[in-house]
Amino acid sequence: MSVLFAAQAASNVSLSYSAERCCLLEALLIDVRQAFRTIEYVLVPNSRTVNAQALAIGRSRHVRLYGGFVFHPLIGVDSLIFALLHETGHHLAPGPRFASDPMLACDCAADCWAITNGVRTLRHCSGRAFDLQKALNEITIIAGSSEVREPPRKARKRPSRAHQCWAANWRDRRMRLSGARKLEVAERCYIWSS
């Protein structure tokens, strides 16, 4: 996750620290902690970083939610649940791992887990579900303003079909998650092709 070169919420975006939002977050965190007991969920409210992060510290497993994302006025409950499940998926999803960190599942595996096993477990434990399409629309808006630039189309290397990972390209990722393209886990994470 971008920490050193993080994408921060723009200065003209006022983060929504309303009591309603705080109660919602608290309730959500109680539910995910109950559903996934091995993961430690940490809220970092005074950060303006627009992201969430899965992190393995020694043998303990953490999910960190940054204020710029969870208090962003454009982010609703569906995006929050999707983010929590995606980050949890980095720890619990089977399949390929990040080349540079074998403790974490790569993004495509985490996404697949989030919308299958993850949401099933959460629904079973707390009755919560989410609207994936709504979550993708909300994240698309804030991802579009991210400071990290995608490489120009011509400069992109086309990896071989077997190793193609779609998680690094938000447009492709969104299409696969919404069912417009086949959702499959790539053999290797995109970090390999860097």
């Binding site: 070169f5 993004d107 400071e147 970090i191 860097s194």
Partner: protein
């Protein structure tokens, strides 16, 4: 690593990827061997992190909409040597202590996994859990997590590639092992190599000429 929005991978991902590759597997063994034979300790008190990072090619090289490389060298050269989490040990020295142990030719460390986390309440950049006891050892792997109070500042610095930037006693460093191209299959014994396209075309031409000659001879008869 493990971000919700990893668009383009980001400079963080690129740096982490390079550091993790440089300090694991054969590349780490090569660094240990070089230290054993050449005698240069890359992480002693006289070496500078920004110069070592430049020599090891551990810096962002991709195109971003900001000068990621310049910010990275400034961070290593100016920010980390001045960062002290209250333990009396600077963050630059804490990082050097971990990497010094990892590259010890007689040590048992097989990999260092780098990561970063943001904590706006942190007094400065420091190594988790603290600079005087940096890194977490899990088996033979060191987990080096940098806690950051905020993203990097916009200050930049040029590449430390001048003679004046050199650290005392520099020796040539082993090159990083080349990455195997994705999708390229190794030549297995007993499996025929595919003919290159030109050779294939030549073969087709020869076969065509042979068939034409045969047709001519049968017509004559």
């Amino acid at each position: 690593m493990g971000a919700l929005i990893p668009i383009g991978g980001g400079a963080d991902a690129e740096i982490k990827d390079k550091l993790n590759k440089r300090f694991s597997g054969q590349n780490l063994t090569n660094l240990k061997n070089a230290r054993n034979t050449g005698g240069e300790d890359l992480f002693d008190g006289s070496h500078h992190l920004h110069r070592v990072a430049w020599r090891l090619r551990c810096y962002p090289t991709k195109t971003y909409n900001h000068n990621a490389k310049g910010k990275w060298f400034y961070f290593l050269h100016e920010t980390l040597p001045a960062a002290d989490d209250g333990t009396g040990v600077t963050t630059a020295d804490a990082i050097k202590a971990v990497l010094d142990q990892a590259t010890d030719p007689n040590g048992t460390i097989t990999a260092v996994v780098f990561d970063a986390q943001e904590d706006p309440n942190a007094p400065c950049h420091y190594v988790h859990p603290s600079n005087d006891d940096p890194g977490i050892l899990v088996g033979n792997t060191y987990n080096l997590i940098l806690v950051c109070p905020a993203p990097l500042s916009n200050d930049t610095e040029p590449d430390p590639d001048q003679a004046s930037d050199a650290d005392p006693g520099e020796e040539p460093l082993p090159a990083a092992a080349a990455r195997r191209k994705s999708g390229k299959k190794a030549n297995k014994p007993g499996v025929a190599k595919r003919k290159p396209f030109a050779a294939k075309r030549k073969g087709v031409k020869v076969a065509r000429a042979r068939r034409a000659k045969k047709r001519r001879t049968t017509k004559k008869r």
